[in-house]
Amino acid sequence: MSISYLEALRMALGDAMEADPRVFVYGQDIAGEFGGAFKATKGLSKRFPDRIINSPISEDAMTGMALGAALDGLRPVVEYQFADFASVAFNQLVNNIAAIYWRTGQNCPMVARLPMGGTPGGGPFHCQMPEAWLSNHPGLVVVAPSTVSDAYFMLRDAIHCDDPVIYCEHKYLYYHLTADFDKHRAEHLALGEAAVRRTGSDCTLISWSGMVHRCLKAAEVLARDYEVECQVVDLRCVRPLDTETILASVAKTGRVVVVTESWPFGGIAAEVLALITSEGFQHLDAPPKRLCAQDVPIPFSPDLYAAHTPDEMRIAEAVLDTMAF
């Protein structure tokens, strides 16, 4: 059966609530017929009338509430309407939730769902990528699924995880990515594992979330037009990093480009490059590169927006530069 990335998320929420009475969802506009700004909870109120709960526009309090419920033994899932608004909850996430296990020894099993990433016309406050600023704080697991199967299994695993998980879901993929999916047969990769989405021996492309698909398209162009075979690594989990898979791929290809629609400064791409240069320097045949969003807030105009984010052509050019070194 072909389902969308968003339907996979909805299925994961429903199945998790079916399997575990401790799970509930708290967020803005998620209850009743409406089912959320993006419809991730559509229909779930009928099945679980008391466990899909509308909150006031209070990201800080929603998040603190989740910590309290988790400490009391439940498995809360908080939905922010857009990842951008998680900045309002920054204090609860990084000071209260991230630190509680280290401080007290009591773990905090909760999931914060952050609809992130760009869609044209979203502008500066509806397209942000929050994974870098949340990954900086020890205590948070940060994941960013790129496939329908991952959307399902990673959300189930995140809810099952005994530590707080920041679940970054890509808004463009919600409706635009569909795939045949049978939860009983599909491959269930582990939460903290990176995946090799395409094998190749010339250059490694490392990415996560929506940008994985652009890397795969660029890899096809490079193979077809330039006979350059890229290995595409999907990080899936950006905190912690699957260092083994990253370094094994760099050892195989000797060349690497990290691609992200996040900003460059102090980001996940910088962290991956730091890992590669300090732990895998001996494998490198060319300087490792990163290709990020433009280092300005996210523009509103579709033309500006298209130039803000790496696309297949720019990814292919970055790989060719690396190959030419």
Partner: protein
């Protein structure tokens, strides 16, 4: 409240004062890193809150709530170990002074960010409701605390609004001690009285004189009873004066003399009332202080023998899950 309970209230106040003073002296001796933060002058109100709680309730105390913590059941030794940064304390040297708690026993450890614990307390109460435990007219309640300074934070506003929307059995203790560190009320809020905020949130407001132990207890008892009956969140504002610096490092020379002249100290005031009414005598009160000092000193002696945390014994891991690859739903 009967006289036995009034004397118990006094005892918690004295215990908090003695323990606070002991920690202040350790700080002056250079034995406590960071600073010490005491509840001097706020013991009557804080202890009243703690005394009205019972097992199953949840309490998120703030910076000046030693009296409430002790009355809720925090062992004396926990505070001493935490202030001295011992491995044996509840925070194991990883966190210090007032940032301590025992979440499994309903004592939530505060973060320094004011107002942040209101919604966390609400989360425990919402959890109880979702688990079907919040039924009847004798509910387990949540209690937390804030000052006149913290009343200006966004987190406090979001938390109180959420408590009201969810009609949670929360008792919000507000101690207007006139000082947000060095800043006076006129730079912290512009409403006539902080209790007026209750109306805006849709909750019942209460006020009391924070230097009058009996008034604190009566007011808090009413608020707690209403919360237990299911009347929703209660906002209680006590007015008093902070009788110490913000922390041990602060001489508080900025406190205006006229402000000092307007407020008394709840502890001697309570002792005087109990003596005048024949509930206690000079001798019985002196004996109480001696007994409490001895109780604290025994624990202090034990903690001083305990060793500091060893960096080599730390596991330096902020995650309870050590291998994410093994997490599988």
């Amino acid at each position: 409240m009967n006289d036995v309970e009034r004397l118990a209230h006094l005892r918690w106040m004295i215990l908090a004062r003695v323990l606070d003073d002991r920690m202040s002296s350790f700080y002056k001796q250079g034995m406590i890193p960071g600073s010490v933060f005491t509840g001097r002058g706020q013991e009557a109100f804080s202890a009243a809150g703690g005394m009205l709680l019972r097992p199953g309730d949840v309490f998120a105390p703030m910076i000046r709530d030693l009296a409430g913590r002790l009355a809720f059941g925090e062992p004396i030794i926990d505070g001493i170990r935490t202030c001295l940064g011992k491995r044996t304390g509840p925070m194991r040297g990883r966190d210090g002074n007032i940032h301590r708690g025992l979440p499994a026993k309903g004592l939530l450890p505060m973060v320094s960010h004011l107002g942040a614990m209101v919604s966390v307390t609400c989360g425990v109460l919402l959890s109880r409701r979702l688990k079907g435990q919040a039924t009847g007219t004798d509910l387990a309640i949540g209690m937390t605390s804030i000052g006149d300074g913290g009343m200006a934070t966004g987190a406090l506003h979001e938390g109180l609004n959420l408590a009201a929307v969810e009609k949670l059995p929360l008792v919000m203790m507000v101690t207007n001690n006139q000082l947000s560190y060095s800043t006076l009320n006129d730079r912290s809020f512009a409403c006539k009285h902080l209790v007026d905020r209750a109306l805006g949130y849709g909750m019942r407001g209460h006020t009391c004189d924070g230097t009058d132990a009996d008034a604190c207890m009566a007011t808090m008892a009413d608020a707690v009873a209403r919360a237990r009956r299911g009347e929703g969140p209660q906002l209680v504002v006590a007015t008093l004066l902070r009788l110490a610096g913000h922390g041990g490092h602060d001489d508080a020379l900025y406190v205006p003399a006229d402000l000092k002249s307007r407020f008394g100290d709840c502890l001697p005031l309570s002792e005087r009332t109990l003596k005048v009414q024949g509930v206690a005598t000079e001798e019985s009160i002196r004996a109480l202080w001696d007994e409490v000092r001895q109780e604290v000193e025994v624990v202090v002696e034990q903690v001083l023998k305990e060793r500091a945390p060893d960096p080599d014994e730390e596991d330096w891991c902020a995650y309870s899950v050590r291998d994410l690859k093994k997490v599988r739903s």
